[in-house]
């Protein structure tokens, strides 16, 4: 795979945007990166997922270091969330086949929009 200068500009912009979202809002950035890879770079779904995580991991580490330097990480809470989150992640993956993801996604989309509005006003 050879990158032209246009590709490099595109990849650079997608990368910077992902990092900005990650650092500024503290969330993964996969929400930007995965659709960008699928629609703009024509990557297959599973490659986009794997590659996105490989980009976000070092990005999240850098953001974490900056937040830590600014004393904004409660490590005790983070550890509790990480541990219970792993148990939940395992359960969620197991439940995946039994739960209609589409309707669940719709319900949580409404939750997200409502929580978003609550945070704005």
């Amino acid at each position: 795979m050879h990158f032209s200068s246009g590709d490099l500009l595109r990849l650079g912009s997608i990368g910077v945007l992902t990092g900005l979202i990650n650092g500024l809002l503290g969330i993964g950035g996969g929400t930007i990166l995965i659709p960008a890879m699928v629609f703009l770079l024509k990557k297959e779904q599973h490659i986009a997922h794997g590659t996105s995580l490989a980009v976000i991991l070092p990005t999240a580490i850098v953001s974490t270091v900056v937040y830590h330097a600014n004393s904004q990480i409660d490590w005790s809470l983070a550890l509790k969330i990480a541990l219970s989150g792993m148990v939940g992640g395992y359960l969620g993956a197991k439940l995946m086949e039994q739960i209609p993801a589409t309707s669940l996604r719709r319900i949580f989309g409404i939750f997200m929009a409502a929580a978003g509005l609550r945070m704005i006003f």
Binding site: L11, T59, S63, Q72, I81, G88, M96, R105, A115
Partner: protein
């Protein structure tokens, strides 16, 4: 106890491939009453161990386009430095509103995509 329940719930959502991370921040702000920046810092830090395991799994399954990941990471690290520095220097109330706008947009996007009955990338 509440913190473990939040972690478990968000983990289940992540495992179901429904953005758990995005709801973790408002959950911490509303129920644990931590400042916006701290919620984001906890979210970033707690994401690292899970992401590490996920990246190793994806690497083993050859789901990572290494050259693409590397090109995107250069930009995303720059973005992360800028974004997280910015996040730690703006007022918590303003950051909360910015996060809210992003969350609202994400929620609407999730609902619209679920209505299209297509698998989200």
């Amino acid at each position: 106890m509440l913190i473990y329940l939040i972690g478990l719930g968000m983990g289940i959502l992540s495992g179901l491939a429904i953005g758990g991370g995005t709801l973790l921040v408002p959950a911490l702000v509303f129920f644990v009453h931590v400042p916006q920046q701290t919620a984001q810092g906890i979210c970033l830090a707690s994401f690292i161990p899970t992401a590490l395991v996920a990246v190793l799994t994806h690497l083993r399954q050859k789901n990572v386009d290494l050259k693409l990941a590397f090109s995107l990471t250069i930009g995303s690290l720059v973005g992360a430095l800028v974004g997280s520095t910015l996040a730690n220097h703006v007022d918590a109330a303003l950051l909360k509103k910015m996060f809210g706008m992003f969350l609202f947009y994400m929620g609407v996007y999730e609902v619209l995509r679920s209505l299209q009955k297509r698998v989200r990338p």
